[in-house]
Symmetry: C2
Subunit: 426 residues, 2 copies
């Protein structure tokens, strides 16, 4: 017989649109219940297959902006797992809808297709004891492989959920991708007005619950001027001086410690020869905060500092050959946001994590969940698996010790069952 | 019969070591005399050969630090021209000694072998009317071809000079070469203690008399620190901020207008990704002056500003992961100096230029002559030929209109005849 304690929270469905209405106690008491024995047994049977699929996904390259091959593979795998409504949207995201008992708000469960590794990076998974080594294996092939295992588990138990679940393989989560896949999902995709909650599987630690989105605004500031011979044209404006004054202005800004707000002048380049006044200097700036207002204020201060630096340089030296111009280009825009700690999605994730032996803790980061959080839609990013390390390096690795790995894999499925109100029918 | 007005200045030989002792009037009256008719006729006959050799030299590549092929060609051509004592020294300079009547101080007549163009730059000379186009054709293939023409003219007329003349093809005049060829000549070469005067042929304008050496000191300043994640490590020191403060300190320095003293922050690079605090920023600085003391003072101020910037950054932000270090590297060192306007070498050059229809004017620049000028040895750089343009670009060109070209070619030979006290013997 199957115990079904998760059914006791039918009332919490209301909590989707009214988080404060749910008591922490009731949410947690439900979500901390383990998966039904049959589903847990099904997951355990899946272990070898999950590892095999994980390797296959990892070895299918998905460089930034070139995720199509992995997207096609993931779509085919979702169909194999039992879903029939699988499509690839205009941005390149893989979308697979599993209908619910009601045609209400959709629960998105997503992992990202892209890696940080450029085209041509060698990717052969190497096993060493209980570790698999390969670029991107944990970030985020593991998320994709976890979704496949969960779909098969839901299908095997013929689980019926109250809410439709939309499984997604997203493009452009990393770096310059700037969350383009999930941004499309929420602003232009077919489901954009139907998404009630969002869960991103990204990271190898099933105890890490990312409920706050660190927002970022990134600029490439171009300082352009006439340039000239270092000796013959001495006295004319130099974009280097305007860049330097901008960096100085930025580093004089005081930012709040809480919510944590940061900046960095990170990349600079310009000039062609030591005996020339340069005609262009490019400066990249990263700014982050969990607080959208603090971030907006910092951005305004940066741009004001850059404009003042340019004006100051044009006043300090000759503009007879031309003046310095500032051309700011926004190269990164990840909105900030938070899902409240007492929201049922958070409470259930914490409980599911604890149930399978992890020590859940809340964290803030920049992930696909930034987009829904910034829109006020409940969203989280959680890990799967049994830990790993060296993400974003070619030495990336993943622990796959069987029992711990299955425990980590169970957390996400338990959360889906709880939050989408899943009910096995056999 | 040959007129020999240049013999009337035998007394001016004393002026080699005592410039003020020579009256301008006597020097000029001598040097303004034209070349003997036979030598002028010999030069005129040479026109086609000079152009042919100029093309051959130009099409023999001589990238920075890779002048050996052109050096071998130039050495062979000097032997063909009639000189027997032709060697290549340890630095790669071609040296060809033409003995004098006396074994006294040597008069060096030099042109540089190297170009600014990197290995693989296509170099085929193209003719368009009275212009030849090719990278390096004027800077400084023309100087080398001029020397060959002059040697043949001296040999044909069996000219005997009072002073030995050392013809040189020098390496490393351009950019990072940092005058290494002539520096070697004056500090380590076989003739280093015997050189009484130095004439560099470099430039296509026989009216430009460079009597002042603009000295330069060039630095690559490396600012190095721990680096870290732009968000996670916010608050630690950033080498970008130290670099910026250094640029600011440099641009706050007041320099003399006369003697002209200049600086430029010219090249900057550093940082690997927008979301990282960089661990290294490199900044290149060019400083120049005709006045060695002003240059030394400017250099001291720059280095003090950089040290203060680093100290300030280490005080302003956390050094928990490490402090910013400054590593200054001297990447260019061209000493300043001047040959007085009333020195016979200058006066004779002005006169010779005027004799052949040019409007001579004194100028300051950075050339091979910087080294002897800085050592107090009389030195000049003059042009040859009939003008040109776009030096240091692949569109470089040279005017070769016959009469004007021969007039320009005559200036240097007339100056050699006057200053080395040449006397035709047939």
């Amino acid at each position: 017989m199957i115990s079904r304690p998760w059914l006791t929270i039918a009332a919490a469905a209301l909590a989707w649109s009214a988080p404060a209405a749910a008591s922490n106690a009731s949410s947690e008491s439900v979500a901390s219940a383990p998966l039904p024995d049959a589903m847990r047994a099904q997951l355990a049977q899946e272990y070898d297959r999950v590892i095999a699929e994980l390797i296959r996904i990892t070895e299918t390259p998905a460089p930034p902006f070139k995720e199509a091959e992995r997207a096609a593979l993931f779509a085919a795998m979702l169909r194999d797992a039992g879903l029939s409504d699988v499509t690839i949207d205009a941005e390149g995201n893989v979308l697979a809808l599993r209908p619910g008992r009601e045609d209400g708000p959709v629960f998105v469960v997503s992992a990202h297709l892209d890696t940080v590794f450029p085209e041509g990076t060698p990717i052969t998974v190497r096993r060493d004891g209980d570790r698999l080594f390969a670029p991107g294996i944990g970030d985020d092939s593991l998320g994709l492989a976890s979704i496949l295992a969960w779909v098969r588990a839901l299908e095997a138990a013929q689980v019926s959920t109250l809410h439709p679940v939309l499984f997604v393989g997203s493009v452009g989560e990393e770096g310059q991708g700037d969350l383009r896949g999930v941004r499309h999902l929420f602003t232009q995709g077919a489901y954009k007005d139907r998404i009630g909650a969002f869960l991103s599987i990204d990271n190898t630690d099933a105890g890490r619950i990312v409920h706050a989105a660190v927002g970022s605004r990134r600029y490439r500031l171009a300082f352009r001027g006439p340039g000239g011979h270092s000796y013959g044209a001495f006295g004319i404006v130099n974009p280097m001086a305007a860049m330097a004054e901008t960096v100085r202005g930025l580093y004089a800004i005081s930012v709040p410690r809480e919510p944590r707000t940061t900046y960095a002048a990170s990349v600079v380049s310009g000039g062609t020869s030591v005996n020339s006044i340069p005609d262009e200097i490019l400066l990249e700036i990263d700014m982050r905060s969990r607080d959208p207002e603090a971030l907006a204020q910092l951005e305004a201060q940066l741009l004001a500092a850059a404009r003042a630096a340019v004006d100051g340089e044009n006043a300090a030296r000759s503009i007879r050959s031309g003046a310095i111009r500032l051309d700011p280009e926004l190269i990164g825009d990840r909105p900030a946001g938070t899902t409240p700690e007492n929201h049922p999605l958070v409470v259930r994730a914490m409980a599911a994590s604890r149930t399978y032996g992890f020590e859940p803790r809340l964290d803030a980061s920049s992930t696909d969940a930034n987009i829904p959080m910034s829109l006020g839609i409940p969203a989280l990013t959680i890990g799967s698996g049994a830990g790993g390390g060296r993400a974003h390096s070619v030495e990336e690795y993943l622990n796959i010790e069987r029992e711990r790995f299955l425990a980590g894999l169970s957390v996400g499925l338990a959360l889906i069952m709880a939050h989408a109100e899943g009910e096995p029918t056999r």
